[in-house]
């Protein structure tokens, strides 16, 4: 990379724990000149952006939130590897002034790593509101690095923050001190390890820092040291470490002793402790019963908005944009080969275009989620739901994304981002397609009405229950066997509530909507085209299409469930979108797409109630639709996990449907 003399680029890393207002600072610095991607090879969001000042270009990187420089989570590992290896020009440690003592732990670690840094003392207003007086100058004297008090939410003191960043970059700010000392016994241990490890050790971390991390039992440093040392030398090092397993406690305690001392000298409580408004609100919001009711009310509110504001907009878009443009195209392309018209109107507009009409619904959902996240409520929701989610091997955080899957599974999969640990997040993504989405319920409603008359509601309800049971079992299985031992412990901060920052909320919403549009324009479009091609070629007639032939090939399996090849084809087309099943049946059975009455009559004539139940179950549990598969691929960044999701649902759906049909026949429901 070339560096222009007049436009020197300075790398600024924002480090800090979650809930410190880090994103707000980042948004305030970079505005819309930001880029959201992923860290190479990881499923963690990487935000970077540009900020200009006095002809200087700052490239700002928002590191994932982390409480320490350990390797307790992927997020922490990314943050500390960036700091230790990429060596940013300036590190801004963003701390929550209202929770200073805990936040100083990370500052202590950063000082010990020895990076050029300053401290942004954010949320000064919240601290004052809860009766704390934080003396920034006193803190500066103790830390030995510049401290800038800040209220990032309303932009207060941002220019001073930039000035200070510039000063640190220029090297005019006071140089960082060597960092808080370790207790003598620990220093001796460092010396011992230093003697045991050869001087030419080649690892991408500062030597002393790596040795201390080794004493703390850091897994990834241990691995990289073991790999770069001769076996006998490693055995010696390991011997020293094994004798001092308690070192981790002593080191952490010494850092907190330092933090507590700094806190004591810089913070005073003139008014004494009093319960803040937030703490009073929490008496209800974290109450075992009251909290559940409040959470249910909030979810209901989100649903109400999605269905009363979002859904009418979606229908309007569908009628006016999708239907009209597809119709218009058909007129415009009269005379062109049939397949080309079909490609445009059914493949592209009917597939990916239809998905795009869901933007209003998703935008409302994403907006509500971003708002609840920013206010600090999410941790409370996780707290009240944990009791139930724990039973199926998940933690409280997974509840909200899963619950939102009732409308459509795509936002559930994309919403899994709010789940912190990787194992729990992947489990959530993998079971999310089992939440019975609205599109599937359309099919269920048609079948139950056709076959079960008065018992239709009961059968529908049983099917939903069946899905939830399978979901619970799948979650239990995946978390117990696939992520065994990697289960995250439920130790979560309940951040103080604060007023949402409109800019942060809107930017977060915008980023997520953008992601969805990109997904629809790429992966979902590609999937729609593939399915369209399969159902169109070679003759343009679905019965003779590739899909039709696959359906015929599946007839023997269908036979185990009492289903003929036409039902199998209908099932396969549900891969485009779950409700597609009905349209396909209309075409194959020759009853037309709109006439549900005729379709119902035809259905009852070609299969027995036992087969109908099996088919509903099959449809409910079948592989996720194309859009969900694309979303799974995007969120897991792995074809293996995507394949796993498709595979296990394929096997489960066929297995369950076969069992249902065979059992139902025993009870005389078959022909």
């Amino acid at each position: 990379m070339t560096k222009d003399k007049h436009h020197k680029t300075t790398t600024v890393a924002l480090a800090g724990a979650p809930n410190t207002g880090k994103s707000t600072v980042f948004n305030a610095l970079t505005g819309l000149r930001q880029h959201v991607g992923n860290w190479p090879g990881k499923t963690v969001e990487k935000k970077s952006g540009i900020c200009r000042r006095n002809g200087r270009i700052f490239s700002v990187v928002d590191l994932p939130g982390s409480y320490s420089l350990g390797a307790n989570s992927t997020e922490e590992e990314i943050a500390r590897d960036f700091l230790a290896q990429e060596k940013p020009d300036v590190v801004v440690a963003i701390v929550d002034a209202s929770s200073l003592e805990r936040n100083l732990y990370l500052v202590c670690e950063l000082l010990q790593l020895g990076v050029p840094m300053l401290v942004a003392l954010n949320m000064m207003d919240v601290a004052q509101g809860s009766g704390l007086e934080v003396d920034a100058e006193a803190l500066e004297a103790i830390l030995g690095v510049p401290v800038v008090p800040l209220v990032a939410r309303n932009g207060q003191n941002l220019s001073r923050l930039l000035e200070t960043i510039e000063a640190v970059a220029e090297g005019t700010a006071q140089p960082p001190v060597s960092g808080p000392q370790l207790p003598p016994a620990m220093e001796q241990l460092v010396a011992k390890l230093d003697a045991a490890v050869p001087a030419d050790l080649d690892i991408p971390y500062p030597r002393r820092w790596a040795l201390v991390k080794l004493m703390e039992g850091d897994r990834s440093i241990r691995r990289s040291l073991k790999a770069s040392l001769p076996p006998d030398v490693w055995e010696g090092v390991k011997g020293v470490l094994d004798q001092h397993e308690q070192a981790v406690l002593e080191i952490a305690s010494s850092r907190y002793d330092w933090a507590a001392e700094a806190y004591r000298r810089a913070v005073s409580r003139p008014k004494g402790e009093h319960a803040s408004l937030g703490e009073r609100a929490d008496r209800l919001l974290t109450h075992p019963l009251g909290g559940l009711i409040a959470f249910a009310a909030m979810v209901f509110g989100i649903y109400w908005l999605m269905f009363n504001v979002g859904a009418p907009l979606q229908r309007w878009l569908q009628d006016n944009m999708v239907a009209r443009s597809a119709g218009g195209l058909e007129d415009a392309l009269r005379g062109w080969p049939d397949w080309s018209t079909s490609l445009l109107s059914n493949g592209i507009i009917g597939g990916a275009g239809l998905v795009l009409t869901f933007i209003p619904i998703l935008a409302i959902l994403f907006l509500a989620l971003a708002m609840l996240e920013d206010v600090g409520y999410m941790a409370r929701a996780a707290f009240v739901m944990d009791r139930f989610m724990h039973r199926i091997g998940l933690r409280g955080q997974s509840f909200l994304p899963l619950f939102l899957g009732w409308g459509c599974n795509v936002p559930a999969i994309m919403g899994s981002r709010i789940v912190e640990s990787r194992g729990a997040r992947l489990t959530t993504i993998l079971v999310a397609p089992l939440v019975p989405c609205a599109a599937r319920m359309v099919v269920v409603a048609l079948f139950t009405a056709a076959f079960f008359g008065g018992a239709a509601a009961l059968v529908s309800w049983s099917m939903v229950m069946l899905n939830l049971i399978v979901l619970a079992l799948a979650a239990l299985f995946i978390s117990r066997f696939l992520f065994r031992g990697r289960e995250s412990s439920f130790v979560m901060e309940l951040p103080r509530y604060h007023m949402p920052n409109i800019r942060t909320v809107l930017l977060t919403t915008w980023e997520r909507v953008k992601r969805f549009v990109v997904l629809a324009g790429t992966a979902i479009l590609a999937m729609s085209l593939v399915v369209w091609a399969f159902s169109t070629f070679p003759s343009g007639d679905i019965e003779d299409s590739i899909l039709g032939h696959i359906g015929r090939g599946l007839a023997p399996i269908g036979g185990l469930m009492g289903l003929d090849w036409r039902m199998m084809v209908a099932l396969l087309t549900s891969f485009v979108a779950k409700e597609q099943t009905i349209a396909t049946l209309g075409v194959i059975l020759g009853t037309g797409e709109g006439a549900n009455g005729a379709l119902k009559a035809e259905l009852t004539s070609i299969m027995a109630p036992a087969a109908a139940v099996a088919f509903i179950a099959l449809q409910m549990l079948f592989v996720p639709c194309a859009a969900s598969v694309a979303a799974i691929r995007q969120e897991t960044r792995s074809w293996r996990w995507t394949g796993f999701a498709v595979g296990y649902m394929l096997v489960t759906s066929f297995g369950v449907a076969i069992v249902i049909y065979q059992v139902a026949r025993l009870f005389g429901l078959g022909v």
Binding site: D386, G485, E493
Partner: protein, 84 residues
């Protein structure tokens, strides 16, 4: 390790009761996480919410933490006498 009679799992404390952290048991990751969140040996912890089942809420170093039931039973505290 010799265990004091007053050392009990944190999850057994009632709301309003305070103990000082005596022992952290469990996996390395769990211990590291607790330490990073401020639960170092000797630190006072006050239980704010404990319904007897499900997760609990505690206050440590001015920060409120939610702990899973299992986690709260692996953190052992020395119970402070109410009189002192």
């Amino acid at each position: 390790m010799k265990r004091d009679d007053h050392v009990v799992p944190l999850g057994t404390l009632r709301p309003g009761e305070t103990g000082t952290i005596a022992e952290l048991s469990g996996g390395r990751a769990f211990v590291a996480r607790c330490l990073a969140m401020g639960c170092t040996p000797g630190t006072p912890v006050t239980v704010e919410r404990n319904a007897g089942r499900g997760p609990i809420i505690v206050k440590v170093r001015g920060t409120r933490l939610a702990l899973g039931r299992g986690e709260s039973m692996r953190l052992h505290v020395k119970k402070q006498d109410l009189k002192t």
